[in-house]
């Protein structure tokens, strides 16, 4: 529907009515305004009430701010004062009015030379002065009040007690200074870096590590030249991760190239700190080059010792096997079975290594048994068996003083023990036996029964496994026995 165009008279009437509304608004005689089309109304409070309320609000605010406020005239005489100023200066309002601010603040007849009001007259902009009075600190802020022509007609004079802020600033400055001195004297390398990686501070020890004389010199060396190639790749990776906000461990090791080309290895610890009031990182560097070198040397010596020991043990095993050709290969096969059981049991790799070592020399003690007993092709007499049985103890005696990283001697000593205590040489039982010894016992029985012996033909693998099954939980550890049976019967383990 098209709205009818209003006539000139109607427009004139509307205009007159609008003017009447404006006039009534100016007189403050309107309770409410109505929207032209919508039912929205704007309710007008009585202007007088509103004015009174505003004045009350302003006065309350003025009186209750934490700062002492005076309104000054053009001659710096106090015209108005808030309650805080009364408390601040211990005077009632009437004692302020008409007096100049410096009379109250400084007790002088003239403004002090650094008075911010003197500067304000010139600048016509906010001026601030911090000054100590007694044992407290104050901040005086003066703002100009300008008349309609932009001329100075007075000022708002505000005094704030900033003692606490000053103390905190002083404390922060002192603690940062202490921290800097602490870093200066630290034997560790110390550096403060920004989030962007700029070096803000580096102590002497850090510069010495890099062979530099100053932070500027250090900064001028490209990072590619400061690290070894591998360490530089890691450095870039850490930087990228930090940029993406991903986790980077706070401690790591780096390898640097000194200015003179020498490579040093450093342990790095990086922590977030506040420095000059901003969030930065403190990075501590410990030179571990010497430690690394000693570790490498130690590893080399250890490896050589192992090799020497290994050769010695091989010689000993060969001596035994030369005297007892029937057991030649027995120790190697027992070692294989024992290792397979230990792997199935998920023993730690280190423990399995020890077990293999022990298994491969478990009959070492037979060097002390007369060769004719070892190779006797008939059933042994009781005294002969007794002589054979001392080989566990003899093996132990030979090995016990050698410093292996594993309890090799004990495994050798216990490989003929049984968990019900019916074994030899000590009749130990159950938990008193090492797990490795229990595995070694089962592997030894299986291999011995399955294959040929000088005093009897081979009984066969089935008979060997039946023996293990029959002794499971009594003579042999139940778990070890089960795994051994499963290895041969289900997993197709073959004796070679």
């Amino acid at each position: 529907m098209t709205e009818k165009k209003p006539s000139h008279e109607e427009l004139q009437a509307r205009l007159e009515r609008a003017e009447a509304v404006l006039a009534a608004l100016r007189r403050g005689e309107v309770d409410m305004l109505l929207g032209a089309r919508d039912p929205l109304v704007v309710r007008l409070k009585s202007l007088a009430d509103e004015n009174e309320r505003l004045v009350r609000e302003w006065q309350t605010t003025f009186d209750n701010v934490n700062d002492a406020i005076w309104l000054l005239d053009a001659e710096h005489r106090i015209q108005r004062s808030n309650r805080t100023a009364e408390r601040f200066f211990g005077k009632v309002r009437e004692e302020f009015i008409g007096r100049r601010c410096w009379e109250i603040v400084h007790g002088t007849q003239e403004p002090i030379p650094e008075c911010p009001l003197l500067r304000l007259r010139e600048s016509l902009r906010r001026e601030i002065l911090e000054l100590p009075i007694g044992d407290r600190w104050f901040e005086v802020t003066v703002d100009p009040v300008l008349d309609g022509n932009g001329n100075y007609s007075g000022a708002v004079h505000m005094v704030s007690d900033i003692t606490e802020r000053k103390r905190l600033e002083e404390w922060r400055r002192a603690s940062e200074e202490n921290f800097r001195r602490f870093l200066d004297g630290l034997p560790l390398g110390a550096r403060v870096v920004s989030e962007e990686g700029d070096t803000l501070y580096a102590n002497r020890a850090f510069l010495d590590m890099h062979g530099c004389d100053s932070v500027e010199e250090f900064q001028n060396i490209p990072s590619r030249e400061r690290y070894t190639p591998a360490a530089h790749t890691e450095h870039l990776s850490r930087r990228e991760k930090r940029r993406r906000g991903e986790y980077v461990p706070p401690e790591y090791e780096i390898s640097i190239v000194r200015k003179d080309g020498a490579i040093r290895h450093l342990h790095v610890q990086r922590d977030e700190i506040l420095w000059d009031g901003k969030r930065h990182f403190q990075v501590l560097y410990r030179d571990i080059t010497e430690r690394k070198r000693m570790e490498e040397e130690r590893d080399r010596v250890f490896q050589r010792l192992r090799e020497t020991l290994g050769t010695t043990m091989k010689v000993a095993v060969r001596v035994v096997e030369m005297r007892d050709p029937y057991t030649a290969g027995h120790q190697r096969r027992v070692a294989d079975i024992a290792r397979a059981i230990a792997v199935e049991m998920s023993l730690p790799a280190e423990q399995i290594d020890g077990l293999r070592y022990a298994a491969s020399v478990h009959d070492l003690g037979k060097v002390a048994v007369p060769a004719d007993i070892l190779t006797k092709p008939s059933v042994l007499t009781a005294p002969e068996r007794a002589l054979i049985q001392i080989h566990s103890q003899t093996g132990y005696d030979i090995l016990k003083d050698i410093d292996f990283p594993w309890p090799i001697a004990r495994m050798v000593l216990e490989h003929h023990e049984r968990i019900d205590g019916t074994g030899y040489p000590n009749g130990l039982s159950g938990e008193k036996l090492l797990m490795e010894s229990r595995i070694l016992a089962v592997a030894d029985v299986v291999e011995a029964m399955a294959l040929h012996r000088p005093y009897r033909p081979a009984l066969g693998l089935d008979a060997a496994l039946q023996e293990i099954e029959a002794g499971r939980g009594r003579l042999y550890d139940a778990k070890v026995a089960d795994i051994c049976l499963r290895l041969f019967r289900e997993k197709g383990y073959i004796l070679i």
């Binding site: 509304v21 006039a23 009534a24 005689e29 309107v30 309770d31 409410m32 109505l34 039912p39 109304v41």
Partner: protein, 110 residues
């Protein structure tokens, strides 16, 4: 609220026109109360039974105010005799109100 000060329309001569007045107010807001009080008093003193006052409270009936193009309250519309005239405000200037009604103070009828 729709109040008539005199529901019966009295007969009058050609020299004594009949006034139909409509006063828009906002509840008991101060200016509205004052306008209502002033109008009733002036009518009682000067027009006796020659007027009908229709008071419309915009808080109850804003539609009537919009229909009459009222933009602010209180507003008095003198509907008859023509031409229609409008006074906005609390009617504090009583001489002006009387002048718009065509009544001079001296012409008060006994």
């Amino acid at each position: 609220m729709n109040l008539k000060s005199n529901p019966k329309r009295p007969r009058g001569g050609a020299a004594d026109p009949f006034f139909r007045l409509r006063l828009f107010v906002a509840g008991d807001e101060p200016h509205s109360l004052k306008a209502r009080e002033t109008l009733f008093r002036l009518c009682r003193e000067h027009l006796k039974d020659r007027c009908e006052i229709n008071v419309v409270d915009v808080l109850q009936d804003y539609r009537a105010a919009l229909d009459c193009h009222v933009m602010a309250v209180p507003t008095l519309i003198i509907e008859t005799p023509p031409p229609e005239r409008v006074i906005v405000g609390s009617l504090s200037d009583e001489d002006k109100v009387l002048a718009v009604l065509g009544i001079a103070r001296g012409k008060v009828r006994p």
